[in-house]
C-alpha cells in the first residue's frame, strides 16, 4: 500500500477542519450520520469557539488508479499562537494542503504557514475553499496565491468543504502529487514524536512518525533525548476512531501508548529508538516553543485556609491538572500583597493565555483574577550577569541595572489598501519600524514592521481589526531582544503600591501611559465613602495622579410592591460583586482593573 503523509494548513477559519471532515466522508471513514461538524475538534472549547487548538492525526484510505493509498493527515490550528503545532505536524509529512478561503483571500497565516511548509521541503497543493459562497472569487484568490507564494494559479484546486465539490479531485491530487515517504536511511528504528496528549485512561498518548525501521507492540524503546525507556503496550491510529495495530511501518504515522505517566516524561521532537538496537543519531528535533506572554492568576475569592481547603489550593490543583494536558504553559507560585498567593504563568501568546484561563475556570471550577499580560525582559546587571524577568515587580534595583532588553517581533499585516495609512500610524505609535510593503492583489497589501512585543500583546490586534473593519490579518514572529530605555512604573491606590498593577514601559511615554491607566482605574473602581488618590510613580517620584471622589449617592430611587424581589437580588448581586473584588488599603478593586494596565488609547 502506498502512503501519503500530509498536513492541512491555512489561516484561521479558512476551513481546515471542515475540509478534514469532508475527507473523512469522501473516503468513507465516517458516514454522514455518525459524523459531526469539525469531527477532529474534540475539546469542548474547540467546539464552542469553532477553532482548532490541537492538531490531530488521522488515517484513511483512498483508491487511485487501481491502487490503494493510505492517507495520514493532520488537521492543524490556524491561529498564530499555535504555529508551533503546525511546525511539528509538518515534520511528520511530505506534503501540505494549503487551504485559502475564496471569500477572504491570502491572509497572514496563509503566508506564514506556507513558508513553514516550504522550509520543511514539503510539496504544496493549493486549495481554494468555500466556492459555494456567493462572495467567492476563486480565480482572484488563485492569482493571489500565485502572486504572493509563487504557486501557479492553474494548479489550485477549487473546492467546497461544505458541499463536497472538488473533493474527489483533491484526493486524486494528493495521491498523485505528494511524494512517497523517503526510504529508510538506517535499518535501526527512528520514530519522531510529533505530538502527545493525555488521556485519563491510558495516560500519555504519543504520536509518532516512523522514519526508519518499524515499531511493534512489546518493543522496549528508548527516547534518545531524555534517555528514558518504556515498553510499548499499544499502537494504533485514528480513523478517526482509534484502531489498534500490531506495528507501525516505515514511513507511517500512528499513536503509541507505553505506560508514560505525565506529559513531562516525553519531549515532543524526541526520537524513539529500540533500547537494545539503538540508532546512532537522533532525528532533528524541534525547538521548544517559548513562552512569550506572562500574567498572574489569583483565586478570585480570598478566603485563605480555615477549615475548608483554601482557594489557592483549588487553583493549584487546577493548574497542575491542566498542565498534564498542555505542557506548553509554564507556572510558578507568586505572592502579591494585594492579591495573596497565585501563579505567574507563561503562554505562547494571548489566545493561549485566554484559553488556559478559560479551561482553568471551566474544567478546574475555580474563579480567577487575572493580571494584565506582560512580556519577559532581559535585565543586564552591572556585574555582567543577565537575569530574565517575567514580572515588573521583579525588576532589580535600578542602580544595579545596566540595561533592560525587551523582545522584538517582526509582524506581517495583510490589509486592504485603503487602511495602510491608519495602520502605519498605529504601528508607529507603538514604536514600530517600517520594513517593507508588497502587493497581494490590486486592492490588498502586505505590510512589514518590527516592534516591541510588549506593544502588541494587549490590544494591537483588536485595533488592527477595527481599523480594517475585520479584514486585516497579522502574523508575528519573535526576532530577538533589544535594549530600550525602559522604566518600572508603580501604581499606588490610596497610598498603597499595588504590585500587580505595576508595569515596565518606555520612558518617553511613561507619563502618558500612566495617566491613561489611572483614568481607566478611576472608571473601574467604585466610589467609596472616602476619597481615593490614585498615583503612578517611577522610583518614588510621582509622575501622574488622579482622584476618585467620595461616594455621594447610593440609594434605590423606586421600590414598590412589584420591585421587591428584583431590587433585593440586585443588592445581593452588588454585594456578591464586592466580595469578588480584591481589598487593598480598604479599597475594593474589581478584577477588570487588573487588566486595565495594558489597554491603550490611540
Amino acid at each position: 500500500m502506498k502512503v501519503r503523509n500530509f498536513s492541512i494548513i491555512a489561516h484561521i477559519d479558512h476551513g481546515k477542519s471542515t475540509l478534514a471532515d469532508r475527507l473523512l466522508h469522501a473516503t468513507k471513514a465516517v458516514d454522514q450520520r455518525t459524523g459531526r461538524d469539525q469531527m477532529l475538534d474534540s475539546m469542548d472549547l474547540e467546539r464552542e469557539r469553532g477553532i482548532t487548538i490541537k492538531s490531530s492525526a488521522v488515517t484513511v484510505t483512498h483508491e487511485f488508479k487501481g491502487e490503494t493509498y493510505q492517507l495520514n493527515f493532520i488537521d492543524t490550528p490556524g491561529h498564530v499562537d499555535f504555529t508551533y503545532e503546525v511546525s511539528r505536524a509538518l515534520t511528520a509529512c511530505e506534503g501540505a494542503v494549503l487551504v485559502v478561503d475564496s471569500t477572504q483571500g491570502v491572509q497572514a497565516q496563509t503566508v506564514a504557514n506556507a513558508y513553514l511548509a516550504v522550509d520543511n521541503d514539503l510539496e504544496l497543493i493549493p486549495v481554494v475553499n468555500k466556492i459555494d459562497l456567493p462572495a467567492a472569487d476563486p480565480d482572484g484568490v488563485a492569482m493571489e496565491i500565485e502572486q504572493v507564494l509563487g504557486l501557479p494559479a492553474e494548479d489550485a484546486i477549487y473546492v467546497s468543504a461544505k458541499s463536497g465539490k472538488g473533493i474527489p479531485e483533491l484526493l486524486d491530487a494528493i495521491c498523485d502529487e505528494f511524494p512517497d515517504p523517503p526510504p529508510a536511511t538506517t535499518d535501526k528504528l527512528r520514530a519522531l514524536i510529533f505530538d502527545s496528549n493525555y488521556d485519563d485512561y491510558r495516560g500519555v498518548v504519543v504520536f509518532v512518525r516512523v522514519f526508519d525501521g518499524e515499531l511493534k507492540v512489546g518493543d522496549k524503546i528508548r527516547m534518545m533525548g531524555t534517555g528514558r525507556t518504556f515498553t510499548v503496550t499499544e499502537l494504533g491510529r485514528y480513523t478517526p476512531f482509534p484502531e489498534k495495530l500490531k506495528r507501525i511501518g516505515q514511513g507511517e504515522v500512528g499513536y503509541m501508548v507505553a505506560a508514560i505517566k505525565t506529559l513531562g516524561d516525553v519531549r515532543v521532537g524526541d526520537t524513539v529508538t529500540l533500547e537494545h538496537d539503538a540508532a546512532r543519531e537522533a532525528l532533528p528535533g524541534y525547538e521548544e516553543p517559548k513562552q512569550m506572554v506572562f500574567c498572574d492568576f489569583y483565586p478570585a475569592t480570598g478566603s485563605e485556609g480555615g477549615g475548608k481547603r483554601s482557594d489557592f489550593e483549588s487553583l493549584r490543583e487546577a493548574v497542575e491538572r491542566l498542565h498534564i494536558n498542555d505542557a506548553s504553559f509554564t507556572y510558578e507560585v507568586q505572592h502579591s500583597e494585594a492579591l495573596g498567593f497565585g501563579f505567574r504563568c507563561g503562554f505562547l501568546g494571548l489566545l493561549h493565555m485566554d484559553i488556559v484561563q478559560e479551561r482553568l475556570e471551566r474544567e478546574g471550577g475555580v474563579d480567577i483574577v487575572q493580571t494584565a499580560p506582560t512580556v519577559s525582559y532581559m535585565v543586564d546587571l552591572n556585574d555582567g550577569s543577565t537575569v530574565e524577568i517575567h514580572n515588573p515587580a521583579d525588576l532589580p534595583d535600578m542602580s544595579k541595572v545596566q540595561a533592560i532588553r525587551e523582545p522584538m517581533v517582526k509582524i506581517e499585516v495583510i490589509c486592504p489598501e485603503e487602511n495602510i495609512g491608519d495602520l502605519m500610524k498605529l504601528a508607529e505609535g507603538r514604536r514600530g519600524i517600517f520594513k517593507g510593503q508588497r502587493y497581494v492583489s490590486d486592492t490588498r497589501q502586505i505590510l512589514d514592521y518590527e516592534l516591541p512585543l510588549a506593544e502588541i500583546i494587549y490590544d494591537f490586534y483588536d485595533k488592527l481589526k477595527s481599523i480594517t473593519r475585520g479584514y486585516g490579518t497579522m502574523d508575528y514572529e519573535i526576532i530577538g531582544y533589544e535594549v530600550e530605555n525602559l522604566a518600572r512604573v508603580e501604581i499606588l491606590i490610596n497610598g498603597a503600591p499595588v504590585e500587580a498593577l505595576s508595569l515596565i514601559c518606555h520612558r518617553s511615554n511613561a507619563e502618558y501611559r500612566s495617566r491613561l491607566i489611572l483614568q481607566k482605574l478611576r472608571k473601574q473602581i467604585d466610589r467609596h465613602q472616602f476619597e481615593i488618590p490614585l498615583q503612578a510613580a517611577i522610583g518614588g517620584k510621582i509622575i501622574a495622579r488622579e482622584t476618585i471622589k467620595a461616594l455621594r449617592k447610593n440609594v434605590t430611587a423606586k421600590c414598590y410592591g412589584g420591585d421587591v424581589t428584583r431590587k433585593r437580588k440586585l443588592l445581593e448581586k452588588q454585594k456578591e460583586g464586592k466580595k469578588r473584588m480584591k481589598n487593598v488599603g480598604s479599597v475594593n478593586i474589581p478584577q477588570e482593573a487588573f487588566m486595565a494596565v495594558l489597554e491603550q488609547e490611540d
Binding site: S303, R527, Q529, K549, L551, R552, K553, N554, V555, T556, A557, K558, C559, Y560, G561, G562, V564, T565, R566, K567, R568, K569, L571, E572, Q574, K575, E576, K578, K579, N583
Partner: protein, 425 residues
Amino acid sequence: MDDPPSIPLPLGRDRRDDLSPHLRDARPEAIYAHVPFCRHKCHYCDFYSLVDQRDRQPAFVDRLLREADRLKELTRLDGVETIFVGGGTPTLLDPPLLARTLRSIRSLATRPPQEFTVEANPETVTAEVAQTLRDSGVDRVSMGCQSFHPDHLKTLERWHDPACVPIAVDHLRNAGIQRVSLDLIFGIPGSTLEDWLGDLETALALDPAHLSCYGLVFEPATPLVEKRRLGTIAPIDEDLEAEMFEATRERLVAAGFEQYEISNWAKPGERCRHNLVYWRNGDWLGLGPAAAGHLRGVRYRQVPRLEEWLDSTPPAPVVDLERAEPSVQRGERWMMGLRLRDGMPRDVVESLLEDDPARRLVVKRHLEAGRLEWRDERLRISDGALVVADLVVSDLVVPDGVVPDGVVPDGAVPDGVRPDETLNP
C-alpha cells in the same frame, strides 16, 4: 405589533404556578390592577406596557373582569382597604371601558375602600376622563409629569406637552378629585440644579397633595441604557444628583410636605396608604399582566405577555411564585421598612433580630456609625445617611458581616456579640 422587550427582569420562566391555595388562606388589604397600554413607550420605562392597541382594549377589560369575578370566589376580600390601578396608562382606556374596569375592580372590596388611586398621564386626562374617574369612585390620581422642560422630556422620550399638566389638574379638581399626586424625575441627563428647582416650583404652584420625586434610574434593557452605552447620553454627575436630592428635601419641607419615604413627600394626612402596604410588608392581590402580588410571604407575578395573559384562565397565569427563605424574607422587610422615614417600630425590629445575630451586628455597627438612629421608639436611617441608604440596606439584605467600617470574616459573628445585646447607642 410585537410586544416591546422591556419586561421586568426576573421573568420569563414559563413555569405556571397555581395561585389558588395561597388565595384560599389570604386576606389581602390592598388590590393592584395593571393596565398595560401606553400611547408611546418612554425610553426609561421598565414597566410592562404595550403601545396602545385600541383593538385589544375590549379583550383586556373582559379578561380582567373575569379575573375579578373569579377572585371573589377564591379569596376573602373583606380586608381590602386600598385600590391602585396602575400601568401603563389606565386613563388611555376608552371612557366606557375605563368605567367598567374601575367599577369592577372597586366591587372587589366588600367595604368601600379608604383610598382608590388611578395612575394617569397628563395628556389623557380630559374633562370626560376626570368625570369617569370620579363617577367610578376614584378619590386619588397619581400623574406622571417627570419634568416641565420639553428638552428633558425629549431625553426621556416622554410624549406630552408640559402645558397639559395644569389643565389635567384642573379637570380633576373640577370633577371633585382633590387628592392629586405628581411624579417628577430629577437627574435627567443634561439637566441642571436650576432646571430641577424650577420643576419643583412649577409643581408646587399646582398645589399637589403629594409628590413623588425620583432620581432617574437606568433600568436594564431600556432604550435609555442603550443610549448610554452608545454614548449619546451620559448620566449626570453623582455629586449633582446628590445635591438635587438634598435640595428637594429642603424645598419640599419648606413647602409643608413631609418626606415619608425615600422618594415620596405628602402634605399631612396625604400619604399614599396603598404604597404603605408595600413598604410595611402587607398582603395585596395583583391583577392583570405582569402584576405582582404578595400573600403571607409568597410573592408572585403574572405572565408579562398580553396575548398569553388573555388566553389564560382566571384567576391568574402566574409565572413567578416564590416563598423566599425566612432569612431572605427578613432581608426584604428591612429593605422595604427602612425606606420609610418613620422607620420600623421597636417591636418589629426586635422580632426581626431575634435569632439573627449577623443582622444584629450590622444594625449595631450602623447605629455606631450614625447611619441608623432611634427616633420615637422607631429605627430609621438617619437624615445624613439617606442619600447613601443602600450601603446600610445591602448589609441587611446580605448579612455576611461585611460592613463598611471594617471587615468581619464571612458569616462569622465575632466573639462577644450576643443576640440579646442592646441596640441603643
